[in-house]
Amino acid sequence: MKQLALLLVPLLSSCAIYDAVTMTGFDPNEYRIITEIRVDANHYKDACANPLLAQVNAVAMARKTDLFEAYSEQIPNNADGYKASTSLNEIAQGLAKRYDTPPVSPLFCKLKYSSIENSARVIQHTIGNRPR
């Protein structure tokens, strides 16, 4: 069995092995923030018909995705996670910025939160499976 194990390892590309072995482990803070983003997006969706509340929520969401991106940025060996956090932040910033030029349609607001919620669920699932 030992020979089999030693035989299999060189079959994988050395870059893939290096990336896999040095990948960052499970981070409870990172997991907590992405879970909050997902849950907030789900709740904020219901307030899209109220322009004042929706604007406050959009700013709060943009701050949280900003926090998530900044947190992901400095985690070592986390290029894929940082890339995803940047895209998620772009989605949320687009919503907050849209409230600078009202009126904002409730449909646009709901679709934005659906995008944020779906993306947060995908990220949460993957970072939740990181080695512990």
Partner: protein
Amino acid sequence: MTLVEIQHQLYNIANSGDPVFADFASQINDIVEQAKAGQMTPQDTAEILRDAQRQLVILDSMNALAFKETLNTCITGLIMIAGAV
């Protein structure tokens, strides 16, 4: 490519049975229909479609990460086997 051709492509993906992209294409087609019905401005529609592209980037990044996680689990298993025998 015309709008009809684009929607036809989306329709094909939506009915492809792919577990991730079928639903994704269906949602994009819904957005296009809502835009055609005048429920959103062209600028808002463009922004929502850009979000769809951003979601593809997220899916791609997380797939790469999931692959590394699986590989890491395999290597850890191989190390344990090699150490135990």
